[in-house]
């Protein structure tokens, strides 16, 4: 194996590790909000690792490297937006957080008609 291949394998391994952690969190965590936390943060970090590994493997072709960097930027921007929209919609439609959520600061503060914070 060339050093380039070893580097690619290592970075892809880090990415796959984070994606597997994210998937385990999606199965094991107790309520919706913690699951969004697992899928949104760890999954984004993992896919960045995998794409970066591919970018390093094709380092001799700059078009592919640019494409990979573009995809990384796209995931970095869109993943938090999607997670936040989903959490907000779930809270507004009455999905309950788990029982142990002690400072539930949003409870009762959304006006149900205008959907604004009061």
């Amino acid at each position: 194996m060339t050093p380039l291949e070893i580097l690619t394998l290592l970075i892809t391994l880090v990415g796959v590790f984070f994606i597997v952690v994210s998937s385990i969190g999606l199965v094991r965590l107790p309520d919706l909000y913690t699951r969004v936390h697992a899928g949104g943060k760890s999954g984004t970090l993992g896919i960045i690792g995998v794409l970066l590994g591919a970018g390093i493997f094709f380092i001799s072709d700059l078009r592919i490297v640019f494409k990979m960097l573009l995809l990384i930027a796209f995931f970095f921007i869109t993943a938090p937006v999607a997670a936040h929209m989903l959490d907000r919609a779930a809270f507004l439609t009455g999905v309950k957080p788990m029982e142990d959520t002690t400072p539930n600061e949003l409870a009762g503060r959304y006006d149900p008609e205008t959907r604004q914070l009061s």
Binding site: I24, L26, V50, F75, L86
Partner: protein, 89 residues
């Protein structure tokens, strides 16, 4: 098959098992937002698997599908989130 390709194949196998866990949450999830989170993670799995497939085999054409799949995943998540929020009552 070289050692590099074998290592990539093992990583893809691990990724496939993890994809199975995400599909389990998609099928079971008690509420609709749970299923949407699982859908988002399945899209991430798909992009990762295709990327590793390209690295293993050198089919560079498939790199363009990554862009389409990631945009479709984001738009799908946003659309279902809007549907959940506006379509109540």
């Amino acid at each position: 098959m070289s050692a590099f390709q074998s290592g990539m194949a093992i990583l893809m196998l691990v990724m496939s098992l993890s994809l199975g866990a995400a599909v389990w949450r998609l099928l079971r999830g008690p509420s609709i937002p749970d299923r949407v989170v699982a859908f988002d993670l399945i899209i991430i799995h798909l992009v990762g698997l295709i990327t590793m497939f390209v690295v293993t085999t050198g089919e560079l054409v498939l790199l363009d599908t990554l862009i389409v799949i990631s945009v479709l995943g984001f738009l799908g998540t946003v659309a279902i989130a809007r549907l959940i929020e506006e379509g109540r009552s």
